[in-house]
């Protein structure tokens, strides 16, 4: 290289300040980057490789990164970046804006809030929750919403990352060991996921496990990019994964390959049931005054019925029967012949012999048998991701996968489990909202108060684990909170009732309309206090912070623009870029991006490390952090409320609230004026609670970039991982359940496969089964599968010019050669994708890797990237499975980010024609 070329090249890489950064996106990554700035602007970033090895012989997490993170700095001054507060001048969505001052913007927003409170009550102010943007983004609007008594729509009910099948089985969704545990696996099933695209920072563990002797199988309808990593590719007909999994289970049971002791101790399958009603035998039936959630098994060692322990999964000498019929003397003097849930399951599995299920799922029976035998003999882990959860019957697929793991003893041991999502315990964040003062003494006071509350609950149920009691405590606090499952919001305020009532798009086993089920559920009080705003309260103000509902709304952009939008007095978007939703706002407020502020990524177990992002440069233009924005808004609301003499009001629970101390409450009398103190408090309180090691402080993170969690903490979401945390070992999800016999937080205290709820029985879903996907969208020949693209995390990087240069730069629909030929479509043609819900136009890509009958449209494209600004969600009805309205049945009850009705967006039916 001569000096003429070397000098500019070297100048490109000069810097005067280096910090650590990560991107706080909902990609489950906590990648530490080194961010280099020069003259007050970020020059470039590179993966920091900041992770220390954990277990000898196991590869470390490095390098955690992807091309999106490595090009993040390009977006800091991208053309779509918001630099100033703006107010729309013309009609919503017309693109006519005027720049206004922060004071003008905050005054207008504050007045809208006060008016909404005065007119309809605070629950008419609605926030869409998100996990995008980092914890300092979330805490700002959640704290503000909590103080005024607004409504916050549960993020998981909006984005449906919620794996309902895990929750039905385990009472939680946390069987996700940190990704380095993959190295211990002997059989990796990439099933319903595409880690080559969607988990780039972690995917190396799959290859490393292969080098360690693991077999890798990819089960997918298309020959996906991740199939390239596999030893075996198993093509499956879309949405029939439950049939495949149940056929594998049938083989394992039929051939006696199941882990009997594991099934006996860990699952509900030995529990006694009435064969006619398929209901569990419950305590009061055998003895008056016994708990209704006391269940029984038949102990073959004693030849007698015995209560199944509620406090431990360890058998401790018992030998519960799996097979047989037994005679019970009931408390009312009668005799009943009962059997076991296992026997019901065996009868169910008889419907899924490989020969019967093979034609359903499109997999050869011998392949099914081979896979089943392998799973039964190896440490098996399913890499599932969040795809199955988005199918109408995704819960059935997941329940069948969990059953496969149960029969083969594949959770709670190294190299096993099912990878979705688990939350790590950053307890300082959880404690923050409960503190009335700054400092350690207050932290201790709150923690002791929580411990006291837990002990009170324990006195009512001495057999309950800390995790179970933690969930119970969480439940009791819900009524005073702001969270609401958004399905009810969409049903009552966004015109979804008509769609969800369409029987031809729903499951045929529904005996009533969706609306009837909603009425029934609300009449029974299953969702009491959680439907916000209620049917009689009109939403007035919509806040969208760091999220983009009009891009991803199941049901399409118009489902909100034509129903909700016209009724709103004010739409406020806080974002760093002009998103599809910001385009339809009344006020847009510019937010600082990562690298322009300190932040923490939400805590998850994938890396089991803190994701820390440090401020490298000043925010662009007049952008502010969300903490600064909502602090200033608190001050403005307080000021305007005093001026207008509207300082006291009743919230949705008829509890008095005040606005004349809002600013002081937001900052705890100034203690949290500086958001660095907030961050520091979370970290120090997490150290105090034992979830972070002593060097987990802000100063330490600035030096090292990340720190590994040291424990699970005291809150149920963290405890749900149920694992020992050792400095020199990988962490194994559900270890406590297997090793220590800690019960599951389910109705039966066991991994539960029989749901003896009448709605589930009516649907034929009391045990796992396969059901065909309803014809959502209409009776059309192509079924749309989707998933995240390689090029962006949702829409966050769609405007990044570097990344846009790595692909065609426009949305694509990928269809098979056969289907393309039938329709006269060539690669590169514009096609119209349509069904009875809607339509959109998109560029076709013809590929041999897609099976006939399947259409792939990766998500993340903004609507304005499509002709006519109609995006791929226009054909999604966003159907909600009615069974998820069930509540107050043991563990089937609302939990934030957990059990609730969620919309399906995968597997809608469409037709494609040349545009």
């Amino acid at each position: 290289m001569n000096s003429n070329t070397a000098l500019p090249y070297r100048a490109r890489w000069q810097w005067d300040r280096a910090t650590f950064g990560t991107h706080c996106l909902n990609c489950l990554a906590t990648c530490p980057y080194r961010v280099y700035a020069r003259d007050g602007a970020v020059a470039f970033e590179e993966p920091a490789a900041a992770f220390a090895p954990v277990e000898e012989g196991v590869p470390d997490m490095n390098p955690m990164s992807c091309q999106k993170g490595s090009a993040w700095s390009v977006q800091l001054d991208s053309p779509d970046r918001l630099r100033y507060p703006m107010r729309r001048k013309g009609e919503r969505g017309a693109g006519d804006w005027e720049r206004i001052s922060w004071d003008e913007a905050l005054t207008e927003v504050a007045d809208a809030i006060i008016e909404a409170i005065d007119y309809e009550g605070p629950e008419s102010i609605v926030f869409e929750e998100t996990v995008e943007g980092g914890l300092l983004t979330q805490v700002a609007y959640l704290r503000f919403a909590g103080l005024i008594g607004a409504t916050t729509l549960d993020a998981n009910g909006l984005i449906n990352d919620f794996p309902a099948g895990h929750h039905i089985t385990f009472g939680k969704f946390s069987c996700a060991s940190p990704v380095d545990d993959t190295f211990h696996t002997e059989l990796i099933l990439i099933w319903h996921s595409n880690p080559s695209y969607t988990a780039i920072p972690y995917a190396h563990f799959i290859n490393e496990a292969r080098y360690n002797g693991s077999q890798v199988v990819c089960i997918a309808p298309d020959y996906s990019p991740s199939a390239l990593m596999a030893d075996t590719y198993v093509p499956v007909r879309p949405a029939t994964d439950a049939a495949l999994a149940l056929a594998m289970c049938q083989v394992i049971v039929e051939e006696g390959l199941y882990d009997r002791a594991f099934v006996q101790s860990q699952t509900d399958l030995p529990l006694l049931v009435h064969p006619d009603t398929r209901r569990f035998v419950r305590g009061p039936e055998l003895s008056a005054g016994t708990r209704d959630d006391q269940f029984f098994w038949w102990d073959e060692n004693t030849g007698e019925v015995a209560p199944a322990p509620r406090g431990s999964l360890l058998l401790e000498g018992a030998n519960p029967a799996l097979e047989g019929e037994f005679s019970l003397s009931l408390a009312d003097g009668q005799t009943a012949t009962v059997t076991t849930a296992w026997e019901l399951l065996r009868a169910r599995l008889a419907e899924y012999t490989p020969e019967a299920a093979g034609p359903v799922c499109g997999v050869n029976p011998e392949v099914i048998r081979t896979l089943a035998r392998q799973a039964a003999s190896k440490r098996t882990k399913i890499l599932e991701g969040f795809n199955a959860a988005k199918y109408y019957h995704g819960d059935l697929m997941e329940r069948a996968m969990c059953l496969l793991l149960a029969l083969t003893g594949n959770w709670g041991r190294k190299g096993t489990g099912i990878m979705g999502l688990a939350l790590a315990g950053l307890d300082g964040y959880m404690l923050f909202g409960m503190k009335q003062r700054h400092g350690l003494a207050e932290t201790i006071r709150v923690m002791e108060g929580l411990e006291g509350a837990i002990e009170t609950l324990r006195s009512q149920d001495p057999d309950a684990s800390d995790e179970i009691l933690g969930y119970e405590l969480l439940q009791r606090g819900l009524a005073a909170g702001t969270a609401s499952p958004p399905a009810f919001f969409h049903f009552y305020h966004c015109g979804y009732a008509e769609t969800w009532n369409r029987a031809e798009w729903s499951d045929p086993t529904m005996s009533r309309s969706f609306e009837d089920y909603v009425s029934d559920a609300t009449r029974r009080g299953w969702w009491g206090g959680l439907v916000k705003p209620g049917p009689d309260t009109d939403p007035q103000v919509l806040f969208i912070v760091a999220t983009n509902p009009l891009r991803r709304q199941r049901g399409g952009r118009d489902a909100l623009l034509e129903t909700l939008w016209p009724n709103l007095e004010k739409v406020i978007v806080v974002d760093n870029r002009m998103s599809a939703t910001a385009l339809q706002a009344d006020i847009v407020l510019p937010a600082a991006m990562q690298y322009e502020r300190d932040n923490l990524q939400y805590a998850i177990t994938h890396s089991f490390h803190v994701g820390f992002s440090e401020k490298s440069v000043e925010p662009l233009g007049e952008a502010r952090t969300e903490w600064e924005i909502f602090k200033a808004l608190s001050e403005k609301v307080q000021e305007r409320a005093i001026e207008e003499d509207i300082v006291e009001y009743l919230d949705g629970r008829r509890q008095p609230r005040r606005l004349d101390n809002l600013a002081q409450a937001f900052t705890l009398n100034g203690a949290y004026d500086d958001e660095e103190v907030v961050l520091d408090t979370w970290l120090r309180d997490s150290i105090e609670a034992g979830t972070l090691p002593p060097d987990g402080t802000l100063g330490s993170l600035r030096e090292k970039g990340t720190v590994r969690f040291a424990g699970l903490g005291m809150f149920a979401p963290g405890l749900s991982l149920a694992a020992d945390v050792k400095k020199d070992e990988t962490v194994t999800a559900y270890e406590w359940h297997v090793k220590d016999g800690v019960p599951f937080p389910t109705l039966t205290r066991r991994a539960q496969f029989l749901i003896d709820h009448p709605w589930f029985a009516e649907a034929g879903e009391d045990l796992p089964c396969h059901k065909e996907t309803p014809k959502m969208g209409g009776d059309y020949p192509l079924l749309v599968t989707s998933g995240h693209s390689r090029w962006t995390v949702h829409a966050a990087s769609m405007g990044n010019p570097i990344l846009a240069g790595t692909h065609r730069g426009e949305p694509l629909a990928i269809l098979s050669i056969v289907n393309a030929r039938e329709r006269g479509v060539k690669d590169g043609d514009m096609v119209r994708v349509a069904n009875d819900r809607g339509d959109y136009c998109v560029r076709a890509r013809v590929s041999p890797r897609v099976r006939p009958g399947q259409l792939i449209v990766y998500n993340g494209w903004e609507p304005h990237m499509f002709p006519g600004w109609k995006g791929a969600n226009e054909v999604e009805p966003g159907m909600v499975k009615w069974l998820h309205l069930v509540s107050r049945y043991g563990h089937l009850r609302y939990l934030p980010f957990g059990w609730q009705p969620v919309p399906a967006d995968r597997a809608v039916f469409v037709e494609v024609s040349k545009a």
Binding site: G439, L440, E448, R684, I687, P694, D695, T697, G699, R702
Partner: protein, 228 residues
């Protein structure tokens, strides 16, 4: 009876009043830290008087008589010059400004030892903030000055002594261990080496070295509590 008062740091919000406590193992540590903070802080009439009469070891030993471990404060060297002015001038020359333009031969500011120029001080200040403390506006010392850090240890041990909750006591013990291990103790050995090599009065060499030795001994004790 030990009398606690807060000198180099101030409480946010409300003042912490002087408080009398029963003497015990914990207040003994508090007392020693309180005296050492004065010993290596800016001289005043009383600290000069004790130095003149050779009382410092006796004062420290008296405060330390209930310490949970043995510690010998040694013999205090006599002052090179008796006057208060000379005493203070030598302190400034040794620890604050130095003889010329090259700075002091022995800095009492931790960031000069611990590496990171700004992060270290920020880390110390965050420590203080979390416990409701900030550096006092009346005290010109930086937050990571040895005397201020000793004041903070005094505060943490005092809070341990007055806490009624076992969890809170354990928390303050953890905080002491954490602060000693990550902030205060790491630069004590270097401080001893530098002061031993510095051209200053033997008294100031003794003062700095004795303080450093006590911190190291106390860090060992705090670690032993965590080890159970």
């Amino acid at each position: 009876m030990f009398v606690y008062s807060l000198a180099g740091l101030k409480m946010d919000g409300e003042a912490l009043p002087d408080q009398e406590l029963e003497d015990n193992e914990t207040t003994a540590r508090t007392g020693v830290y309180q005296l050492l903070a004065r010993l290596v802080g800016s001289p005043d009439d009383e600290t000069h008087a004790w130095a003149s009469t050779g009382e410092w070891p006796a004062q420290l030993t008296d405060a330390a008589k209930l310490l949970p471990y043995a510690f010998d404060f040694g013999q205090q060297p006599p002052l090179d010059e008796p006057s208060r002015e000379a005493f203070e001038a030598e302190y400034l020359a040794a620890f604050e400004v130095g003889p010329g333009t090259g700075g002091p031969p022995v800095s009492l500011v931790s960031e000069h030892y611990n590496g990171g120029p700004s992060n270290n001080r920020e880390e110390v200040l965050r420590f203080y903030e979390y416990f409701g403390l900030s550096t006092s506006a009346e005290d010109p010392r930086p937050g990571d000055h040895l005397a201020t850090e000793l004041e903070f240890m005094k505060f943490l041990t005092f809070k341990e002594a007055v806490s009624s909750s076992p969890r809170l006591r354990a928390s303050f013990q953890r905080a002491q261990h954490d602060f000693l291990e990550r902030q205060l103790a790491p630069w004590m050995t270097r401080l001893k080496e530098k002061v031993a090599a510095a051209d200053t009065w033997p008294f100031w060499q003794w003062a700095a070295a004795t303080t450093a030795s006590f911190v190291l001994a106390d860090a060992e004790y705090a670690a032993s509590l965590q080890a159970g």
